[in-house]
C-alpha cells in the first residue's frame, strides 16, 4: 500500500485516438484515486472515455501522457513482464460481453488465470488446490452445476458470473468491470450487482464503468466522466 493509502491512482491521464483524418481526444487530464475497499462507479455518456480509462487503469492500454500508480509504483516504468504479472495477479477484468474462451468449459475458464503463470510441473503440483478454488468460486456464484458446461450452453447472466469467477480467481486487489450488466436484462443485471455488493462487503475493491445511473447508485462512490474530465 502507498503512503497516501491509495491502491490505484491516475494523475493527468490524457488519451486520444485517430479516427480517419481527425484526432479525437478522449481523456483530457483525468485524475483519480482508488482506495482499498472502494466500490466506485464511473458513469458518463457513450464515448466519454469510461472504458478507455478502465483499460488504462488495468494496463490493457497506455496513456499518451499522465501516470498510473499501483501501490505507489508507476506502471509506465514496469517491464512487459511486470505488467503481465500486474494483469494476472493485481487486477481482474469483467467485460460487458463476458469474453469467455469457447474451447474451455466453465471450470477451465475460471481457473485459466491461475494456469497462466505456471509451468507444466507447477500446474501438476498445484492443480488440485487451483481446481478446488475455482469450484468454490463457482459454488459462491451459484454455478456448481454448470462447471462442465461450455460457455455457449449458458445464459448471459451465467456467463457473466463465470467471467466474475475468472476475474476473482487470483484474488486480485482490484476488480475492474466494464459495463458488466450492459448486455443483461434488468433482473439478471441486478443479480450481478448483488454479487458485486457482497464482494465489496467482503473487502474487494471494485471499479465499475456504466452508463446507467441506476446501476451506478449501487456503488459507494460515483465518478462522472464528461468531456474527457472527471466532474464529481
Amino acid at each position: 500500500m502507498s503512503k497516501d493509502n491509495f491502491i490505484l491512482k491516475a494523475e493527468g491521464i490524457c488519451k486520444s485516438y485517430r479516427m480517419g483524418q481527425a484526432e479525437v481526444q478522449v481523456l483530457k487530464g483525468v485524475d483519480l484515486a482508488v482506495k482499498e475497499g472502494d466500490f466506485i462507479a464511473v458513469i458518463g455518456a457513450s464515448g466519454s472515455g469510461k472504458s478507455t480509462l478502465l483499460h488504462i487503469l488495468g494496463a490493457l492500454d497506455t496513456p499518451d501522457t499522465g501516470i498510473v500508480r499501483f501501490d505507489g509504483r508507476d506502471l509506465s516504468r514496469q517491464s512487459a513482464r511486470g505488467l503481465n504479472r500486474f494483469r494476472n495477479k493485481m487486477v481482474g477484468f469483467v467485460f460487458q460481453f463476458y469474453h469467455l474462451l469457447d474451447e474451455l468449459n466453465v471450470l477451465e475458464n475460471v481457473f485459466l488465470p491461475a494456469m497462466a503463470d505456471k509451468s507444466v510441473i507447477g500446474w501438476l503440483v498445484s492443480r488440485r488446490r487451483v481446481k478446488n478454488r475455482a469450484a468454490d468460486l463457482l459454488a459462491q456464484l451459484g454455478l456448481s452445476e454448470r462447471a462442465n458446461h461450455k460457455p455457449y450452453q449458458l445464459s448471459g447472466g451465467e456467463r457473466q458470473r463465470v467471467a466474475i469467477g475468472r476475474a476473482l480467481m487470483n484474488e486480485p486487489r482490484v476488480l475492474l468491470a466494464d459495463e458488466p450488466t450492459g448486455n443483461l436484462d434488468s433482473e439478471t443485471g441486478n443479480g450481478i450487482l448483488k454479487i458485486f455488493e457482497e464482494l465489496n462487503k467482503a473487502g474487494q475493491t471494485i471499479m465499475m464503468v456504466t452508463h446507467d445511473e441506476r446501476i451506478a447508485r449501487k456503488a459507494k462512490r460515483i465518478i462522472t466522466l464528461a468531456d474527457g474530465k472527471i466532474s464529481d
Partner: protein, 448 residues
C-alpha cells in the same frame, strides 16, 4: 499448461485446422512414398553395381590392357586387407550365329571361381547359381568350350520383368570374333585375316540386373578371352583386376592402400617391357569405376528432392493461410489471454504449439498412409496392370523387378522433422502477428 490444453482444443474444434492437417498429411504421404521408392532404386542400383564390380578395380581404358598383372595379383593376394582378386579381360567382339546373323558384344574373360569370390557373379547365373566352377561347362557336354551370355542376349524380359528358361540348358553354339591388338595398339594379325574367331557353346546366362551389362556382355573363360584378344603373348596382359576387401576394411582406405601398392609396383617396373601401358592404369573404388551410371540416377533423385522441396514450400503457404485465418478468428481469445496477464511470447508459443500439433498429426497420418501404401505398392501395381495395363515402369524396358518399398526409418524421421519445421515456419508469421495484437483493440465491441 494452458497452452497445451488450448492448442489441443484449437486442433480438435477448429475445422479449418483439419485442412492444414490434411495438407501436411498429403505432403508427407507423397514424400514418404516417392523418397522411399527413389532411394530404394538408387540403393538397389548401387548394390547391383557394387556386386558386379567388387570393392575396387585396377583397370585401364585401352583395349590393349596392361602387362605384369600376374605379379600385381600375387602382391595383392599376399596383403592382409585383400579378400580376393580376379583378373579380367575386357574387349569387344562379334557374336555370329550359325544362321549368319551377328551382333556386337562386350567380351569379358574371367576365372568364374575367382570372379565369384570377388564379385556377385555366381548369384547372377541361372543354371549354375552359386556353383560357378561349372559355369563354362555346358551340361550336355562338359568338354565343349562354354560361355555365359548376358540374359538379354538369350531371353526376352516379359511385362512382369520375368525371363523364361528351359528346364535344361539347350544346345546352342555360335562364334565369337575379336580383333587381337599388339601392345602398341596395332592389329596383331594385319595381313593374316585380322581377326581371331572361336566357337563357344551356351552354358549359362547371367542376370546382373544392369540393363546395359545383361544386354551386351558375354563371359568367356579367361584364357580363351585373352587369346581371342591377343593378350596372351610372352608378356601376357589383362584389362582389369577386380578386388574384394576383407570384411571391415573401409572402402576408401582399401583403395588408397591398393593405389600405394600400385605406385610402388610401377616404380619397380619403370624400365620394363611395355611399361608405358602401366602409366594408363587407374585404381578406383567401385563407386568411382561406375560413377557415370550412378551419377545419372543420383541426379534423378536430387531432381525429385528439388521437386518435393517445391511441395514443401506450397505446404508452408497452406499452413500460413490456415493459421492466418485461425489467428483472425481467434483475435478475441488473444485479447482475453492478454487481459489475464499472458505475454506475447506465450501467445507465440501457443500458436506454434498448435502448429506443432498440426504437423505431428499430419505427419502421423501421412506416414501411416505412406507406409501402408508402400507395403501394398507392388500388389496395387500388379492389380492395375492386370485390369488396366498400367505399369509404373515397363519391365520389358527397365531392369527393375519390383518397385523398391523397403521402409527406411532414417528417411521417415527426416521427413517428419522437416514437416514439423515447415509447419512451424508457416505458423511463425501469424503467431507473431497474434502476439502483437493489442488487447484493447481485440476486445472492442465492434470486434465481436
Amino acid at each position: 499448461m494452458y497452452k497445451i490444453i488450448l492448442a489441443f482444443r484449437y486442433l480438435l474444434r477448429r475445422r479449418i485446422t483439419y485442412l492444414a492437417v490434411l495438407a501436411v498429411a498429403l505432403c508427407v504421404f507423397a514424400v514418404v512414398v516417392v523418397m522411399t521408392v527413389m532411394t530404394g532404386l538408387l540403393r538397389d542400383f548401387k548394390a547391383i553395381n557394387h556386386s558386379w564390380v567388387g570393392d575396387c578395380v585396377v583397370s585401364t581404358d585401352t583395349l590393349v590392357g596392361f602387362p605384369y598383372y600376374r605379379e600385381f595379383v600375387k602382391i595383392l593376394e599376399e596383403r592382409d586387407f585383400v579378400g580376393s582378386v580376379s583378373p579380367v579381360i575386357r574387349s569387344y567382339g562379334i557374336l555370329t550365329e550359325p544362321s549368319g546373323w551377328n551382333t556386337s558384344v562386350e567380351v569379358m574373360g574371367i576365372d568364374p571361381v575367382k570372379h565369384s569370390r570377388t564379385t556377385g557373379f555366381a548369384k547372377t547365373l541361372y543354371y549354375h547359381k552359386d556353383w560357378p566352377a561349372d559355369a563354362f561347362k555346358p551340361d550336355y557336354d562338359a568338354n565343349l568350350p562354354g560361355c555365359v551370355l548376358g540374359i538379354d542376349k538369350v531371353s526376352a524380359r516379359d511385362q512382369r520383368g520375368k525371363y523364361s528358361h528351359y528346364s535344361s540348358i539347350p544346345r546352342y553354339s555360335f562364334t565369337i570374333t575379336c580383333f587381337p591388338l599388339t601392345a602398341g595398339g596395332a592389329l596383331a594379325k594385319a595381313g593374316l585375316g585380322l581377326v581371331n574367331t572361336r566357337r563357344f557353346y551356351y552354358s549359362d546366362d547371367s542376370h546382373s540386373g544392369l540393363a546395359k551389362v545383361d544386354g551386351a556382355f558375354i563371359y568367356l573363360p579367361f584364357a580363351d578371352a585373352q587369346a581371342l584378344c591377343g593378350m596372351n603373348g610372352p608378356s601376357p596382359r589383362a584389362s582389369a583386376i577386380h578386388i574384394k576387401f576383407k570384411a571391415g576394411v573401409n572402402l576408401q582406405t582399401g583403395r588408397n592402400r591398393v593405389a600405394k601398392l600400385w605406385e610402388d609396383f610401377l616404380t619397380g617396373r619403370g624400365g620394363g617391357k611395355q611399361a608405358n601401358l602401366l602409366s594408363k592404369v587407374r585404381v578406383e573404388t567401385w563407386k568411382d569405376y561406375r560413377r557415370e551410371v550412378i551419377a545419372a540416377v543420383e541426379k534423378e533423385q536430387i531432381m525429385m528432392m528439388a521437386a518435393f522441396g517445391m511441395i514443401g514450400i506450397i505446404t508452408v503457404f497452406i499452413v500460413f493461410v490456415v493459421f492466418y485465418m485461425v489467428v483472425s478468428h481467434k483475435s478475441k481469445d488473444i485479447g482475453i489471454l492478454k487481459s489475464i496477464g499472458i505475454s506475447n511470447r506465450d501467445v507465440i508459443e501457443l500458436f506454434l504449439g498448435f502448429a506443432f500439433l498440426v504437423a505431428v498429426c499430419g505427419s502421423a497420418i501421412g506416414t501411416a498412409g505412406g507406409v501402408l501404401f508402400l507395403e501394398k505398392i507392388n500388389r496395387i501395381e500388379s492389380w492395375l496392370y492386370d485390369h488396366y495395363g498400367f505399369q509404373l515402369w515397363n519391365r520389358a524396358i527397365y531392369a527393375i523387378d519390383e518397385i523398391p518399398n523397403k521402409i527406411q526409418f532414417d528417411i521417415i524421421a527426416v521427413i517428419i522433422v522437416s514437416a514439423i519445421a515447415v509447419c512451424l515456419v508457416g505458423a511463425l508469421i501469424p503467431a507473431w502477428q497474434a502476439a502483437r495484437l493489442k488487447p484493447v483493440e481485440t476486445l472492442q465491441v465492434n470486434q465481436l
